[in-house]
Amino acid sequence: MAANKVSLANLADLKNASDDAIANYLNSLSFQQSHTMTDVRLAIGYGAFVIAAAAGGWDYYYGFENTKLYTAVAVAVYSLLQGALAFWISFVEQGTVYQGQAPNSGQKISIASFNAKKTEPLYRLKVTTQPAASEGKPETIELERSFTEWFDESGLFVAAPFQRFLASSIPVVGRADPKRVKSESRDLLEGDSDLLDAVMSAEAETTGTDKKSGGKKRKV
């Protein structure tokens, strides 16, 4: 991860690198990642590709005149699949970069990341969590943080502040990784008693030297 330098001027690269880091971090906390969305997208896409390849194949071997009807059908099916793919990406995926289940509580989490606005280098996320029991309502958190918090001046990704950001802002992640929850997230801790318990027990284990009340702000 830290071996790759990301161009600080390229918002798309910054976003993609951060998106990749989410999966690495959450999976390292024993979250169970669900690949269903990606798999459906790949299935539709490769299905369309296979049809195009087949059309190319029979056209090459049997000529245009003999296979006109098959080609017409193939073009129609291909267009439908491309439309389905576009629909899937725009309306179902909607920017989702991670889907999974928390290790202990089984809570489902879905994280979508949006392209940064051109004028501001902000990483924008929308996190949706849903308790494992089917009667729980899904909760949505919208987050916006500057890339400067976890990319240094040369473009290297620094994992710790990124993980602190996620653990402090998302209760499910904070429960799984209490050491990373910044103690300044008072509102979050007070609203969520499980999280508070987890953070307190984690803080009790440490000697207290890595508890920073202000956090190290990097001036850019």
């Binding site: 798309a12 690269d13 997208r41 896409g45 369309a48 059309a55 267009s79 491309q82």
Partner: protein
């Protein structure tokens, strides 16, 4: 960027992006073929035999369906000589009979003689099924790229290689 190759799904998604660009271009071509009912609905003029109407390097758009009227004298048509794969763009100058069995004679505007010598041995006239389309529109000059690609085939490999590299390294 390249570290994505460690994750198979991501590698598959990047390859898919490139593959879909190629296959969409191909299917658009095939779709046009089917609609125009021609195996090659866009051709490039290779010779100067139709000057001053068409120059070498012009791009021609073909239509192979006789919806309103049959192929008539004066139409510029594209045909392949039997067993050869070179499309020839010339004008119909004589027509004998009607319907699909009508016999057609073609001649390039800039040629002295008609096409009798170009036809296959023993063939004196063209039939409607030999024609792969009539010219309905054209774009000057644009086809020169194709001429360059066919005269220097290594250009094709270079172009495809560059396109592929860009598509895989970028993730926009």
């Amino acid at each position: 960027m390249l570290s994505a190759l460690g994750n198979p799904r991501q590698a598959a998604a990047q390859v898919l992006n490139f593959a879909l660009v190629l296959s969409t271009a191909f299917m658009m071509w095939k779709g046009l073929s089917v609609v125009a009912d021609s195996p090659s609905p866009i051709v490039v003029v290779l010779s100067g035999s139709m000057e001053p109407a068409f120059q070498r390097g012009d791009l021609l758009f073909l239509w192979n369906r006789n919806l309103l009227q049959e192929t008539a004298v004066g139409e510029v048509v594209v045909y392949n000589v039997k067993e050869k794969d070179i499309p020839i763009v010339h004008r119909v100058v004589r027509k004998f009979g009607t319907g699909d069995e009508a016999k057609l004679l073609t001649k390039g505007d800039n040629n002295q003689a008609d096409d009798t010598e170009l036809y296959a041995r023993g063939q004196d006239f063209l039939e409607r099924k030999d024609i792969i389309g009539s010219v309905v529109a054209y774009m000057p000059f644009v086809g020169y790229v194709t001429i360059m690609l066919s005269e220097h085939p290594w250009l094709k490999t270079v172009m495809l290689g560059i396109m592929g590299l860009f598509a895989i390294l970028q993730r926009e």
